[in-house]
């Protein structure tokens, strides 16, 4: 299925990416090529085949519901671009 520049802009926005105008044609072409490679899947009969989420069909393991102390805030925030008083700072969201 060919994907045009407009589709790319739309998907890019969903993924919070900006694609420069001079790259958009090449990217549409690349993605169309990849999607036609992927298109082969459509010819396979998968009726009654359960989708496989885990190789051993394992389910999420649960741990005991125990309170644990987490006190690494300063260490974790040391790598943040902008913090104040233990909070992550972003541009104003609410006027």
């Amino acid at each position: 299925m060919p994907v045009g520049p407009e589709d790319i802009h739309k998907i890019a926005h969903l993924a919070r990416l900006t694609i420069e105008d001079d790259k958009i044609l090449k990217i549409s072409e690349d993605i169309s090529n990849i999607l036609s490679l992927v298109e082969q899947l459509q010819n396979t009969d998968t009726n009654n085949i359960e989708p496989m989420a885990h190789p051993m069909d394992a389910t999420q393991t649960l741990r005991e519901d125990k309170v644990t102390q987490f006190d690494n805030r300063d260490k974790l925030q040391a790598v943040a671009p902008n913090t104040k008083d233990g909070l992550f700072l972003v541009p104003r969201v609410i006027e």
């Binding site: 990416l17 490679l37 396979t44 989708p51 690494n72 902008n82």
Partner: protein, 485 residues
């Protein structure tokens, strides 16, 4: 002192031939003189390494050494190392100093190995040639007149070991990223069963496919590494709670009577004559050791690349949404609002291949397409797994080429990503099925190494290492090294 294995170095340390400080200094010097041409390291931690080596020497003197105490090595830059820059080959993490260690990293610290630095890789492990790293491409040490790729995404780890800048390095494999570079650099690399090695602190690409594993010269070293890397980890909910065997224990067993399957779909017209001949010779040598071969069929093999290029990008687009410019990683200058902050931080931080895969993933997961792409791919994935399950009713092991060719030149795949994706045509199905796979040197074509792949049943890493070790006891491909080492 060249091209020593961990096994040999460990003996040398025990016998007092050299101290760990001397050993680490030797490799650090090699990195200094050789790596400017290879670019296999992103970060070298000389001071820290020498301090750890001093501690290791005291441990050895006190008689408390493990086989790993004082052994220098490197981590792929995808594993978080507390206090040490961890970039994942991306501008996004150019300044990221993790506040914690990956479980694989703490496992190596526990046994006293000495990390010398972090190896280069394709950005976020997306690539088969190491051309997508923000920190520059890695050059295959086997290159002669033309510069050749080391393979990817663990190309830095492979090049560093092949050039003898470290005796071993850690690596990761999502679609072939351990096995293909091992093949192209003449090394032994192993991707364990999904869940065998903890993914905690291993930066995620496609969570249901990613698996860490060893990059080494020999099967014996790979077995020693797996002994350290494999562990049950409550911090990784997909880690398998199953006892870890001693992977070195069965290396010397006879492989006589074993049945090895040759999937007819992998031995097709796309294989070069030279590669066919190389694999046939290796098969004869294994027959000499008593193994039997039979043709098998994995009928859905041709669907593994298409299924992979839905599943891996879909998971990558979800995983990489965490890079928001807020909590860590690259942040754009002077964002005018929150949307601008997200858009510019991500667009500046990610390279082209990463963006391409995020876009495919976002497309495959978007409203109206989920069933046609993601669900369909997950169904096909089960068909691929079922093929293997059926095959293992008749055989103990599967053998194939690792990659379609020997090392190739930079830009030789043009700028068509699909051509590069086909580089992993023999390795991808293993990740989709969650099976263990390994590559070991099988011969030389045009003076360049090529590997063969062993694919084992679930948790049969020890059997794979046994076959590989037996093969290496009658061949010397794994002892060869680039001429200018």
């Amino acid at each position: 002192m060249l091209n020593k294995t961990v096994k040999e170095l460990s003996q040398g340390l025990t016998d007092g031939e050299y101290s760990s400080v001397e050993l680490c200094q030797h490799y650090l010097n090699r990195i200094k003189t050789r790596d400017p041409k290879i670019n296999s390291f992103i970060t070298v931690i000389e001071e820290q390494a020498l301090r750890s080596a001093e501690i290791a020497d005291k441990t050895i003197a006190a008689g408390n050494a493990t086989p790993w105490t004082g052994i220098p090595f490197a981590h792929k830059d995808i594993f978080c190392t507390e206090g040490v820059l961890t970039t994942c080959g991306s501008k996004m993490l150019e300044n990221f100093i993790p506040p914690y260690d990956a479980t694989v990293v703490s496992n190596f610290k526990t046994v006293g190995a000495v990390c010398l630095g972090k190896t280069n890789m394709d950005e976020f492990a997306m690539g088969s040639s190491n051309e997508t790293s923000y920190f520059g491409k890695v050059i295959n040490p086997w290159s002669t007149s033309e510069q050749l790729v080391p393979g990817g995404s663990s190309g830095g780890s492979a090049a560093a070991v092949a050039a003898d800048l470290v005796p071993i390095a850690t690596a990761t494999d999502t679609g072939g990223s351990i096995r293909q570079p091992a093949s192209l650099c003449g090394l032994t690399g192993l991707k364990p069963t999904y869940g065998r090695v903890s993914r905690y602190g291993m930066i995620a690409f496609a969570s249901s496919l990613d698996q860490g594993g060893p990059m080494a010269r020999t099967a014996e070293d790979a077995a020693m590494m797996l002994n350290v890397m494999a562990s049950h980890d409550p911090k990784d909910s997909t880690s398998i709670n199953k006892p870890t065997p001693d992977y070195t224990a069965g290396l010397n067993k006879s492989i006589s009577g074993m049945t090895i399957g040759l999937p007819k779909e992998f031995f097709n017209e796309h294989l070069s004559h030279a590669l066919q001949d190389t694999i046939q010779t290796a098969i004869k040598q294994l027959e000499g050791l008593g193994a039997n071969f039979k043709e098998i069929s994995l009928p859905h093999s041709d669907l593994s690349v298409p299924a992979y290029y839905v599943i891996a990008p879909a998971e990558c687009s979800a995983n990489l949404s965490r890079f928001d410019g807020v909590r860590y990683g690259h942040r754009c200058d002077n964002p005018k609002d929150l949307m601008d902050l997200y858009l510019r931080s991500r667009s500046e931080g990610f390279g082209d291949e990463v963006k391409r895969r995020i876009l495919i993933g976002a497309y495959a997961l978007s409203a109206g397409y989920y069933d046609a792409y993601y669900k369909k791919a997950q169904q096909v994935r089960r068909l691929i797994k079922n093929d293997f399950v059926t095959a293992y009713n008749d055989v103990d092991m599967i053998l194939s080429p690792t990659s379609p060719s020997e090392a190739f030149g930079f830009d030789s795949k043009g700028d068509d990503p699909v051509k590069m994706y086909l580089e992993d045509i023999f390795t991808i199905s293993t990740n989709l099925a969650g099976l263990p796979g390994m590559s070991l040197p099988a011969g030389m074509i045009n003076n360049l190494p090529v590997g063969m792949q062993l694919i084992g049943n679930y948790f049969e890493e020890a059997k794979m290492l046994n076959i590989a070790h037996q093969f290496q006891s009658i061949t010397d491909w794994h002892t060869q090294s680039p001429q200018n080492n």
